[in-house]
């Protein structure tokens, strides 16, 4: 009898694994044509290409270590709130093995970051965000996630943006002088 029980558990556990990542489950369960929802998927090969094209070492390392980045967004105010609640329900129903890392509950914005580590190279992260403009962002990242490098990235991006703005300003000035 014991052996049958073990075999059945094995069977069900393997079926559970097949259930897929958070974005897949979310899209399967809640996405329909009536409500506006955008989905962006970036896989391993694209991440490698992106790593080859960037000069920033932290970003290069981050891209190389990741397996996928999947994003869901919704601009609709009404739908976003609904989707955010549904995403939280989905986490508690099917992704209860994820541990909450960050929980921000401000008056206008909400954000939850959940994390699961299977082993060193197989880690998964889910970010559920509802910003002040009621815009929904769901991010699912898998691979080797280096939090130290990622937390520094925001500063890098702001520097990049600033340097891009400066470059554009210089170009504009040169153009004006030439004219």
């Amino acid at each position: 009898m014991k052996i049958y029980f073990i075999i059945l558990s094995l069977l069900f556990s393997s079926m559970n694994i097949f259930a897929g990542d958070f974005v897949t489950r979310f899209m399967e369960k809640y996405s329909d044509n009536k409500q506006e929802i955008n989905n962006v998927n970036i896989g391993r090969s694209m991440l490698e290409k992106m790593a080859n094209q960037t000069q920033d070492e932290d970003l290069k390392k981050t891209f190389n270590n990741l397996n996928s980045i999947r994003i869901i967004t919704s601009e609709s105010r009404k739908d976003s709130k609904d989707y955010f609640n549904k995403a939280q329900e989905l986490v508690s129903e099917e992704f209860a093995d994820f541990k909450e890392m960050v929980s921000v509950n401000e008056r206008n914005a909400k954000m939850n970051v959940l994390f699961k580590k299977t082993d060193e190279k197989n880690q998964e992260l889910i970010l559920l965000g509802l910003d002040a403009d009621n815009k929904l962002t769901i991010i699912s990242i898998s691979g080797k996630i280096d939090f130290d490098s990622i937390s520094k990235l925001s500063d890098t991006f702001s520097k990049e943006t600033q340097s891009e703005i400066m470059e554009e300003n210089i170009k504009n000035e040169v153009n004006e002088q030439n004219e």
């Binding site: 052996i3 049958y4 075999i7 059945l8 094995l10 069977l11 393997s14 079926m15 694994i17 097949f18 897929g20 990542d21 974005v23 897949t24 989905n39 962006v40 998927n41 970036i42 896989g43 391993r44 090969s45 694209m46 991440l47 290409k49 992106m50 094209q53 960037t54 970003l59 981050t62 891209f63 397996n67 996928s68 980045i69 999947r70 994003i71 890392m101 960050v102 921000v104 954000m111 970051v113 992260l125 970010l127 965000g129 962002t137 991010i139 990242i141 939090f147 990622i150 937390s151 520094k152 990235l153 925001s154 991006f157």
Partner: protein, 187 residues
């Protein structure tokens, strides 16, 4: 039978040296003759053995026994019929579980379950950096909140050494109680 012979046989009986025939002689003596007074205390033993040996199986005993054996054999046959089916079912379930796990492993290592949205790395880069920026900001927010909590705790001027010493005392007391309990148990 002479009393002397009975005495001799009884002596052998108590020493466990009597043969089956001799024991039967003793049983016969105590069941047929008027037992002398000095043997009255041992007579019931031989009478009991004599009477028990008279007990015989009824004529229907063999029939009943065979019937019971047949019933048991019938039960055994039903189990035997199901056992191979269960084994086959278990094997099928095991193979299915293995195949599912194997497929999952192959898929997780080689393939991804979704289609790439962009062919252009620059477009993908923009989305990826936006996502990572959002995550980075969340992590920074969490770090900042943790630091602020630490600063607030520092501002409370809590005497941590005193709290530590209280903890140590509690720990010591618990250890002493445990030691006493162990000693009591040993005693």
């Amino acid at each position: 039978m002479e009393i002397e012979q009975i005495d001799k046989l009884l002596g052998k009986y108590w020493n466990c040296e009597t043969s089956l025939e001799e024991e039967q002689l003793l049983q016969q003596f105590f069941s047929e003759n008027v037992v002398p007074d000095n043997y009255k205390n041992v007579a019931p033993l031989f009478l009991y053995t004599h009477n028990e040996q008279k007990e015989k199986l009824s004529d229907s005993f063999d029939e009943k026994l065979n019937q019971k054996i047949e019933e048991r054999q019938k039960k055994y046959i039903t189990i035997k019929l199901f056992a191979p089916a269960l084994k086959i079912a278990a094997m099928v379930a095991f193979i299915l579980a293995l195949s599912f796990s194997g497929l999952f492993w192959i898929n997780s290592t080689k393939k991804q379950h979704f289609a790439e949205t962009y062919n252009d790395p620059l477009a993908a880069y923009k989305e990826a950096t936006l996502a990572l920026d959002k995550l980075s900001l969340a992590l920074q927010k969490s770090e900042k909140a943790s630091l602020e909590t630490l600063v607030q705790l520092n501002e409370l001027n809590v005497d941590w050494d005193f709290i530590d010493s209280l903890n140590m005392e509690i720990y010591k007391n618990e250890e002493e109680i445990e030691l006493k309990e162990e000693q009591n148990l040993k005693l």
